[in-house]
Amino acid sequence: MSERLTTSVELARSDAPSWSVRTWLDRFGMVLILPVLLGIGGIISPAFVSPDNLSNLLLQFAPLAIVAMGQALVMIVHGLDLSVASMMATAAVIATSLSGSAGGVVAVFAVALLVAVAIGLLNGFLVTKRQVSPFLATLATMILLQGFRFAYTQGAPSGNVPTLLRTLGAGKFHGIPYNTLVLLALAAVLAVLLHRSAFGRRIFIVGGNPVTGRLFGIRSDLVATACYVISSCLAAVAGLILSGYVGLVDNWVGQGYELDSIVACVVGQVSLQGGRGSILGALTGAGMIVVIANEVLLLGVPIQVQLIIKGAVIVIAAALYAGREIGPDH
């Protein structure tokens, strides 16, 4: 059974079984864009590639990358998660409101993850059992979380970000941010889960070819719901880290991350049509967004122009990377 699953996945991803340079490039080649982008930054300004700036880049990279990995899982099962930004803000609000309590950071993580699991289950339930389109289901939970958050904080969150979270979000260990270490650990676990486990294979099959999945007896509802839960939990962790980085909390921590994470995935060759993608792709896409945003900043252009460049880059990158697989009819 498991051997057959492997074969089908490899066919679905049209990977040749041999390890030629070509397949290696197909799989990992996109990472090479990052050194190129960093090189361009170095030409614009030598300060860009200084260890200090690189370490700051990592600091900003981690939250987006964590969210993007969850988004990638959901997109591979042919879904979409618009509730991640709202989840991030909710986790941040939980962090400040529990900061005075006895359990401290442990309590913060426990409550935030509990809420995240609930939201993930709700997303999964709506999408799989009620067959609501993922866009809409997660849009609804996004508004729902936002409403509860506003009602709870009465529009103005109060309290402080716990010190330990600040260290986690902004602290560095010999120049390497702690949040990057968290990211690396999560990325390793998720990469194994997605690319080296039976569960991961099921994710690809459910997203790429649901009929085959059903014939193999895969319980696609469970697989998809698990992806939504993982995405929500990662968003909660990213929200906690980001609140630690920013140092203060309002109702909009993580605003824009829902769309940025989708863009990161698309740029990183995760298919909007499901069934294709990788953790490495999500990381690469997130890296591109952070690096490009920083380079634009470095050019000294005003924030308005940054938005214009960002929009143009999104479309161009998608045209270069994702255009072919979407095909002539979409």
Binding site: L139, A151, I262, I308, A318, H330
Partner: protein, 322 residues
């Protein structure tokens, strides 16, 4: 598969294409029933006119959004375009009544042009509309902020007639939105172009095989969406008396809610604009009811989310039965 959905007359399709309308009407009825129990004034004609008036902005933008979704795409640039349109309106008119007509016309033309560019990029670059319009949204927000970092210009005294004026007792802006909706509904139902939009959204491959001109259809669809967003921007400038660079930011995702509430499938090819108008009316009516009940604005969001979940879950049940 080559026959466009939405114009078949056999029973199941007839049922299917009207289930959305039926569900929205049921929900509107439910809100009215609760409203009647809460206050005698809720069901008054005047209150209905007020709610109708408050529907204008959401109705305008989501009518255009309906077309893009019907065609199998989506337009995520509407929010930024609304902001840009409202800033340009008040900034260019700048309290000079003589400029009203040229500025209004050019803002509407600009909105349509942005839609054309969206469609052109979708066709030429072969990128999913979600990404194209998202990128366009970022670009337009940048342009808006280049033009104005804060509230800009002023509209002349008479211009707010668009937002607050009543013609024969009917609110002007909302009536315009309703007439636009009617016009588009007729086009969708009776003109070949309308059927082609459904066909394209239902099955892009078959649409291509029967020789539909995708580029032309998408141009018209996204052009209309841009036009509607620009009109929404004009309306908001008239309502607030001034253009603001972030005034449209919430409309990007909010414009999708009435579309889906009205029974249009996000996957395209099924639904219509009348349902969207009713969906927008339902949201305004719900907020109105919560105001009557003195519910905090924060919980209005919760209620809105719950009604979306309720509505879309009900559709599934009905779709299966149909």
């Amino acid at each position: 598969m080559t026959e466009p959905v939405g114009i078949r007359v056999d029973m199941p399709s007839w049922l299917r294409s009207n289930v959305g309308l039926a569900a929205v009407l049921v929900l509107i009825g439910a809100v009215c029933a609760v409203g009647a129990a809460v206050s005698d004034r809720f069901l008054s004609f005047n209150n209905f006119l007020n709610v109708f008036e408050q529907t204008t902005d959401l109705a305008l933008v989501s009518i255009g959004q309906t077309l893009t979704i019907l065609s199998g795409g989506i337009d995520l640039s509407v929010g930024s375009l609304i902001s840009l349109a409202s800033c340009l309106t008040s900034g260019l008119i700048n309290n000079n009544p003589d400029r009203i007509i040229p500025v209004v016309l050019s803002v509407l033309a600009l909105g349509t042009l942005v839609g054309f560019v969206n469609a052109g990029l979708v066709v030429v670059l072969r990128v999913h509309p979600l990404i194209v319009t998202l990128g366009m949204g970022a670009v337009l927000q940048g342009v808006t902020l280049l033009y104005a970092l804060g509230p800009v210009g002023r509209v002349p005294r008479g211009f707010n007639f668009l937002a607050y004026g009543r013609v024969y007792g009917l609110p002007l802006g909302a009536t315009i939105a309703a007439l636009l909706c009617l016009l588009i509904a007729l086009v969708l139902r009776y003109l070949p172009l309308g059927r082609q939009i459904y066909a394209l959204g239902d099955d892009a491959n078959s649409a291509r095989l029967v020789g539909l001109r995708r580029t032309r259809i998408l141009m018209l669809v996204y052009g209309t969406s841009g036009f509607c967003s620009a009109a929404t921007g004009l309306y908001l400038a008239a309502r607030f008396g001034v253009g603001q660079p972030y005034t449209g930011v919430n409309y990007t995702l909010a414009s999708i809610t009435p579309v889906v509430l009205g029974g249009t499938l996000l996957s395209g090819g099924r639904g219509g604009v009348v349902g969207t108008l009713l969906g927008a009316f339902l949201i305004a009516l719900l907020n109105n009811l919560l105001n009557f009940m003195d519910v905090s604005k924060h919980y209005q969001l919760v209620a809105q989310a719950l009604i979306i979940i309720l509505a879309v879950s009900v559709y599934v049940e009905r779709r299966r039965m149909a």
